[in-house]
């Protein structure tokens, strides 16, 4: 690992590429899976909840770099878990879906400043869209580990129930800890669904903008594309401090 106080690489310099083997594969659904990676040389791998690694994918014409958030917790050590979707026409995701247990893969990292390394001091809202729960999962675990943590809430939205990755885990956390609440929402809810319905922005506006005058909250938002910016703009534009609204857009 590099020394965080003496970073010597970057820019034009090439970093050390770690070699990892795939220890396990778990299919969340037909097009979403987790790969569990263990460093081939047996070394440790330290990271902060929310960080990502950059996989080096040897495609036919070049090595392409693609980032994947670490969905497991530093507290668990290895294997590291990354989640990925099979993207139609996506050369990188097709390559990764073609890998098997025992195959090797190279990566650099960890990277990223969308992190939470200790329990926040004020009420904190985590907002995740489908597979973008990956970086938020270890953040929540880190925050819950502090017995004095403030109220924490997770809004996790997906198109269908199978997109609510780690749902049982979050439900169990909410059962054990009265200061953590889990509010899943579905865009296409089945009959009998009792959770939230519709997209995240409506929930967020109702609960945290028009719902009360409290602007002393923190937000961690992760998702794909423009909706992440829409949420950022909604919150920053209605009285929340810029630095209180953290986000990562995939």
């Amino acid at each position: 690992m590099s020394d965080p106080l003496n970073p010597e690489t970057g820019g034009s310099t090439r970093r050390t590429v770690h070699s990892a083997s795939i220890e396990r594969i778990f299919n969340h659904s037909a097009d979403t899976r987790s790969l569990f990676l263990r460093l081939a040389d047996g070394s440790n791998f330290a990271f902060i909840p929310g960080q990502f690694i950059s996989l080096e994918l040897p495609l036919k014409d070049e090595v392409r770099v693609r980032p994947y958030s670490i969905a497991s917790s530093p507290e668990d050590g290895q294997p590291l878990e990354i989640c990925l979707n099979l993207v139609p026409g996506g050369a990188g995701s097709h390559y990764l879906f073609g890998l098997s247990v025992g195959d090797r893969i190279g990566f650099t990292g960890p990277f990223g400043r969308f992190t939470l390394d200790r329990a926040p001091e004020v009420e904190t809202i985590f907002i995740a869209d489908a597979i973008a729960i990956a970086p938020i999962r270890p953040m929540i675990r880190r925050a819950l580990a502090d017995q004095h943590h403030p109220a924490l809430r997770l809004h996790h939205a997906a198109r269908t129930e199978e997109g609510l990755l780690y749902r049982r885990e979050f439900e169990a956390c909410a059962t054990r800890d009265s200061r953590f609440s889990f509010e899943p929402a579905l865009i296409e809810p089945p009959s009998g669904w009792t959770g939230g319905r519709g997209g995240l922005i409506d929930h967020v506006e109702r609960r945290y903008v028009t719902g009360d005058e409290n602007r002393n909250r923190r937000f961690y938002i992760c998702g794909v594309g423009k909706p992440v910016f829409d949420l950022r703009d909604l919150l920053r534009g209605t009285g929340y401090e810029r630095r209180a609204v953290r986000y990562e857009r995939w």
């Binding site: 970073p7 820019g11 330290a46 980032p67």
Partner: protein
């Protein structure tokens, strides 16, 4: 033709790329026509840990000339740059700064280091 001169703080020999911005994209990563895209497409390495998706600062560059020939920065880029080491008033993310003029003369410096690779020990 636009011209991109690249100075490396690490001491590597500088490079000059001449290119036609209208022919972008030149690679698979970064905004089409961005400094990152131009460099990768001309086989000049610039780190881009997030794949050129404006999610880290490893492609941080300091623009020494031609700032007015680049696209303006958006809030997401500025939010990230706030955390970049060695931030200057002319810092940009290579993946987001698009060369907008076909006669642009851009000069950039690639900083030696980044703090994106940070860690904690357990």
């Amino acid at each position: 033709m636009a011209r991109l001169r690249i100075i490396f703080e690490s001491g590597e020999p500088e490079r000059v790329i001449e290119f036609d911005p209208a022919k972008a994209p030149f690679s698979h990563d970064g905004q089409p026509g961005s400094i990152l895209d131009v460099m990768l497409g001309h086989h000049v390495h610039l780190e881009h840990a997030c794949g050129g998706n404006c999610a880290c600062t490893t492609c941080h560059v300091v623009v020494k000339a031609g700032m007015d020939k680049l696209s303006g920065s958006e809030e997401a880029e500025d939010d990230l740059l706030d955390k970049a080491p060695g931030l200057t008033p002319t810092s940009r993310l290579g993946c987001q700064a698009v060369v907008e003029s076909d006669d642009a003369e851009i000069v950039i410096v690639i900083p030696r280091f980044t703090i994106n690779q940070i860690s904690e020990q357990h």
